[in-house]
């Protein structure tokens, strides 16, 4: 398989994740869509690593995974504290800073 196929698949998955972030209103689902976008980026990184025949892309993908794990931990903790205050996980209800 040529790497361009993998990159095309990564693009499609990234766009789907972006649509999910824009359309969904549940904050947890939005987080999942962000994870999908990060995964798509990882796929592109690995595809380019195999295109160039070295391991740098795989190392970057590894770092992306670590950052994604940290992001999920903090994000879900924020979600939980918002849920405690507002009793809702919907992004529409977190509107205290709205004009």
């Amino acid at each position: 398989m040529s790497p361009v196929h993998y990159v095309a698949l990564a693009v499609i998955l990234f766009v789907i994740g972006g649509v999910g972030v824009l359309v969904r209103r549940n904050a947890i689902v939005i987080f999942m869509c962000i994870e999908l976008m990060l995964n798509a980026c990882n796929l592109a990184f690995v595809a380019f690593a195999s295109l160039h025949g070295n391991l740098d892309g795989q190392v970057i993908a590894f770092f992306v995974m670590v950052v994604a794990a940290a992001e999920v931990v903090v994000g879900l903790a924020i979600l939980m504290s918002i849920y405690r205050a507002r009793r809702s996980a919907s992004v529409d209800d977190a509107n205290l800073l709205k004009y």
């Binding site: 398989m1 040529s2 790497p3 993998y6 990159v7 095309a8 698949l9 693009v11 499609i12 998955l13 990234f14 766009v15 789907i16 994740g17 972006g18 649509v19 999910g20 824009l22 359309v23 209103r25 549940n26 947890i28 689902v29 999942m32 869509c33 994870e35 999908l36 995964n39 990882n42 796929l43 690995v46 690593a49 195999s50 295109l51 025949g53 070295n54 391991l55 795989q58 190392v59 993908a61 590894f62 770092f63 995974m65 670590v66 994604a68 794990a69 940290a70 992001e71 999920v72 931990v73 903090v74 879900l76 903790a77 939980m80 504290s81 849920y83 405690r84 809702s88 996980a89 919907s90």
Partner: protein, 272 residues
């Protein structure tokens, strides 16, 4: 796995192409389902499917270490964390169908199409060549090659990553910590509260009927009415009982007598 797939014979190429197309279709379908299904738990399951497909693709592309990290860290840890938080704060948190901002979905779709065209044009112009021949770094020495890179060229980002993880762990602890604002009631105060509440005994347990026995069924009182006290309020709050065949606690007696709900046999417990 990659060692087998990277052998380079014709049959291997065909097998790899077939596997790619199968996985591509599955992962795109699962990703689409993820943004379309309403319940958050189903989204998580769809995301797991996408992640497992991607892990297989990593293995096909000569990244066995990343494939296993993807399965262990993403599907194993991150997704379980998602499910854990879902259980904590919102099994019921399906999305509302109403659009809060008018035309938002249409605008999102247009923006997505535009973005897709933009990316497709960029990649189409990029002239991506064929993959380099798989080397030993894509097979048996993948792990040593990665560790050499991480601990030589990328050692500073690696250490920054450690700092980031510690900060994230601390941040999660601080955010999830709830300070007690009132002193913990002593056993004497708890006993006094129970005495003054007028109900000394614990709440009745859920109904145990001849044919049906579930936590969402109210207990039957001696006079034939049902007791709402016996059904945990968490069930209705989380809408766990909204599935097909759910019978609201008030109507349980009448409907089970007619054989509705989730009863197995129509004869119910009408006279019990």
């Amino acid at each position: 796995m990659s060692g087998v797939l990277a052998a380079g014979t014709n049959a291997d190429v065909i097998a790899r192409e077939t596997l790619f197309w199968i996985l591509a279709v599955i992962s795109v379908a699962a990703a689409l389902a993820m943004i379309l299904v309403r319940r958050a738990v189903h989204c998580a399951i769809m995301l797991a499917v996408v992640m497992l497909c991607l892990a297989t693709m990593y293995a096909m592309q000569g990244a066995p270490f990343l494939a296993f990290v993807q399965i262990i860290v993403y599907t194993g840890a991150v997704l379980m964390l998602f499910l854990f938080v879902l259980m904590l704060i919102g099994i019921s948190s399906g999305d509302s169908i109403v659009e809060t901002i008018k035309g938002q979905r249409l605008a999102a779709g247009l923006a997505a199409i535009g973005f897709l065209v933009l990316l497709a044009l960029g990649i189409g112009h990029a002239a991506i060549g064929p993959a380099a021949r798989p080397t030993a770094a894509n097979g048996p020495t993948n792990l040593t090659g990665l560790s050499t890179l991480i601990f030589t060229t990328y050692v500073f980002p690696f250490e920054v990553t450690g700092a980031l993880l510690i900060t994230a762990a601390l941040g999660a602890m601080v955010l999830a910590y709830r300070e007690r604002t009132t002193p913990r009631p002593t056993q004497r105060e708890l006993a006094a509260r129970r005495l003054s509440s007028g109900q000394l005994a614990p709440d009745p347990s859920p109904g145990v009927y001849a044919l049906h026995d579930a936590a969402d069924r109210p207990a039957l009182l001696p006079d034939g009415s049902t007791s709402d006290l016996s059904v945990s309020p968490v069930l209705s709050q989380r809408a766990v009982t909204e599935g097909p065949g759910f019978v609201p606690p008030e109507e349980t007696v009448e409907i089970t007598a007619e054989g509705g709900g989730r009863e197995i046999a129509p004869s119910g417990r009408a006279d019990s």
